[in-house]
């Protein structure tokens, strides 16, 4: 094997792949070949770099040049300039959104500076389709250590002492969970990895599976050793074809290398892993529903207890953890529980991966230590609000979470503080909203999601959420009354109190938190019949300002329903009866003559 002087890492995450990163790899390789640089430069397709906003991303090592928005045709220039002549391709370099200066080194990009990568340690570093690269990064060393140097009880003890809590949402201590499953009697037990990431706007689990699948496989085997299970199952969304492909490759390689299968490391511990596919049901993130789904049934949750740790898959003790939780395991084993516990806060240890999206400059996947503030995330890592708009809210925890405001920006992020603020950690979605977002509509958006995803088993969730959404709809149409708010409040309370599973019990969070934090907006919609964000079509009207209108006829031509009348060089008028409030005229007018009331 030649010693490559340069590595070119190309992001192979779903975001970058969908903007032609495969073609970029191909072109780079062709250029390398054409210049006889095969032994000098190596192109590696890695997992997600996280900075999806800027995709496709190409990194050139060793100098760590960070190229963004790369197109396949840029390959020639990268090889000719950067590799052959040693000059960075400046136009492709990331530019700091504030200074607008190119930044050469990804380490100096604000997006990465505050991050601490444990879960994502290998994402964007190794080739996920090559087990040896994972091993070279101390992969499977933790499994070796567990099998040869530690008893199952000691493994559980390490996980307990690390303070690791479930990253799937509720934050149950992982070590305790393992302990319960280990204590459940029975020769047949299962380790399940929940990879049914369903939050709209969350893609951290997928990124780990795509970028570092072995970290999950290794951790599942460790868990199997700790609880006494020899079968593992990964329940993954069928909508994640690339993660599935990489997992399949990883499982096959691990089996070939004897790191999965019979008598691992020559011990009497055996462990295999199978894939089970989800089919688009958010509720299957709930562990009992997930288990029913894996058994080939409708993914309806059942009442706990019995907990899966006692009676789960096929009625056998089953330990369910999510992808991110598993990805933390090997580093904890290798570096020790004290190291892990030194990161984060008193009650929430380690790091958390968030999918940062919405009206923010740097959309992407970030991993930060627990205890970081929302302000740091939004303004330092996220680079602030897009188009210099005003920050309004940040929604955390997916559809079950709540909308937090300005006043929560300095709250350190922990499981408990987020709940206290009316939201939750959830699986880690973070959507930033600005002044153009109507909070009543946002609440309705989430409720519509819950209505769509409710399994229908229990009445409060099946019907209650539908009614919540209908009342919100009424308010956004200007037909709400103040009594509706009382009805909303009561219904939120009752649904939380009575719904069967976590999905239902948390579904009113977006309504409750917006009622709490954006009360004025609700009242405006109801009393003043106004939507300050101009989002609610029934509450806004488009007018043409006669002062500014030049009679250019552009708006009239573009209006899809012919609601604009007016002769050339004459002031135009919008017929309110015909107007569908599509906003085309506003976008078309070059003279700022169209306005909204």
């Amino acid at each position: 094997m030649g010693t490559y002087k340069y590595h070119i890492l190309v992001c192979g995450g779903t975001g970058c792949k969908s903007s032609q990163s495969t073609q970029i790899v191909q072109n780079l390789n062709e250029e390398i070949k054409a210049n006889n640089l095969e032994n000098f430069v190596k192109v590696v397709t890695t997992g997600c770099f996280g900075f999806c906003e800027r995709g496709p991303i190409v990194k050139v090592l060793p100098d760590n040049s960070f190229y963004n928005y790369v197109k396949p045709e840029d390959a020639t220039e990268i090889i000719n300039e950067h590799i052959i002549k040693g000059r960075r391709v400046e136009r492709l370099l990331f530019r700091d959104p504030v200074t607008n200066k190119p930044v050469t080194d990804s380490k100096h990009i604000n997006f990465y500076q505050k991050q601490l990568r444990i879960v994502l340690r290998n994402c964007g570093v190794i080739d996920p389709e090559n087990i040896e690269e994972y091993i070279a990064r101390d992969g499977y060393l933790a499994l070796y250590k567990c099998l040869n140097e530690l008893t199952p009880t000691e493994v559980i003890d390490i996980i307990k002492r690390s303070g690791l809590r479930g990253r799937g949402g509720a934050g149950f201590p992982t070590g305790v969970k393992w302990e319960i499953a280990a204590a459940s009697p029975g020769p047949e037990k299962y380790v399940v990895c929940n990879a049914d990431e369903g939050d709209p706007g969350a893609f951290m689990d997928r990124s780990v599976l795509e970028g570092d699948p072995h970290s999950v496989l290794e951790a599942m085997a460790i868990c199997g050793y700790a609880i006494g299970a020899s079968h593992g199952l990964i329940y993954i969304r069928a909508e994640y074809p690339m993660a599935i492909k990489r997992l399949k490759i990883a499982i096959k390689q691990a089996e070939e290398y004897g790191l999965l299968g019979k008598n691992i490391f020559g011990t009497d511990f055996s462990f295999d892993i199978e894939l089970r596919y989800g089919a688009g049901a958010f509720v299957c993130g709930e562990e009992t529903a997930l288990i029913h789904s894996m058994e080939g049934n409708r993914g309806e949750p059942t009442v706990k207890p019995p907990y899966p740790a006692v009676s789960g898959y096929k009625g056998k003790p089953t330990n369910v953890n999510n992808v991110e939780t598993f990805a933390n395991i090997s580093p904890i084993i290798i570096k020790g529980p004290e190291w892990f516990a030194s990161i984060g806060t008193e009650k929430s240890k380690g790091t958390k991966v968030f999918a940062l999206a919405g009206k923010i400059n740097n959309v992407g996947l970030i991993e930060v230590p627990m205890g970081i503030t929302l302000r740091e995330i939004i303004y330092e890592i996220g680079g602030g609000i897009k188009n210099d708009k005003k920050f309004k809210a940040i929604q955390t925890g997916g559809p079950s979470g709540g909308c937090l405001t300005e006043k929560h920006l300095d709250t350190p992020i922990e499981y408990e503080t987020l709940v206290a603020a009316g939201s939750m950690m959830g699986s880690g979605g973070m959507i930033v909203m600005d002044e153009d977002d109507c909070m009543v509509s946002v609440a309705k958006f989430y409720l519509d999601f819950t209505v769509e995803e409710s399994c229908g088993k229990c009445a409060p969730c099946r019907i209650g959420n539908k009614r919540l959404s209908e009342i919100l709809d009424k308010i956004t149409k200007g037909n709400g009354t103040m009594e509706d708010i009382e009805l909303l409040k009561n219904l939120c309370m009752v649904i939380k109190d009575t719904a069967l599973c976590g999905l239902g019990q948390t579904s009113p969070n977006p309504v409750q938190s917006t009622l709490e934090n954006f009360w004025d907006e609700y009242v405006e919609h109801i009393v003043d019949k106004k939507c300050r964000a101009n989002k609610c079509k029934d509450l806004i009207h488009y007018y043409i300002d006669p002062e500014n209108c030049t009679g250019c006829m552009a708006c009239a031509r573009k209006c899809p329903v012919n609601a604009i009348a007016g002769e050339r060089k004459q002031v135009h008028v919008i017929n309110q009866d015909l107007c569908t409030k599509c906003g085309t005229c506003l976008e078309t007018c070059k003279f700022n003559a169209v306005y909204i009331i």
């Binding site: 002087k5 590595h7 100098d63 002549k85 690269e133 070279a136 490391f265």
Partner: protein
């Protein structure tokens, strides 16, 4: 592929790939490393920068000094070419001019290993590409 059954097996694979992976690991953490840039614009190459570059890469590796050697464009000191910029962890970068193999050897042994200053430093406040 023979199955991995021992720690040694794991270590063997790790060793095989060490070089490649360390390249990436170093890049992840450039602050802790010696960073060397060789001015390799056309004029630099003509003045022998390529040999210097290869020499530095090979020798640092041989002498087991963790460093990142990269090429860079014209540094703006064509009079002093070949030029080499060395940035020790936590220190300001220093640029050496008229670098020969012997000089390079001296830079490695004295400046990089022991932090002793070596003749040939261009004291000018130049601009790095980052500041353009």
């Amino acid at each position: 592929m023979a199955k991995i059954t021992s720690l040694d097996d794991l270590r063997k694979i790790k060793k095989n790939l060490e070089e490649q992976i360390s390249l990436r690991e170093k890049a992840e953490n450039p602050e802790s490393l010696v960073q060397i840039k060789v001015g390799m614009a056309t004029s630099g190459i003509a003045a022998g920068a390529k040999e210097i570059f290869t020499f530095l890469v090979d020798e640092l590796e041989k002498r087991n000094i963790p460093a990142i050697v990269t090429q860079t464009g014209d540094m703006g000191y064509s009079y002093a070419e070949p030029t080499v910029e060395v940035k020790l962890p936590g220190q300001e970068p220093v640029v050496f001019g008229w670098v020969t193999k012997e000089k390079a050897d001296e830079i490695i042994e004295k400046y990089i290993r022991n932090g002793e200053l070596v003749e040939g430093i261009i004291p000018q406040n130049y601009k790095t590409i980052d500041d353009k």
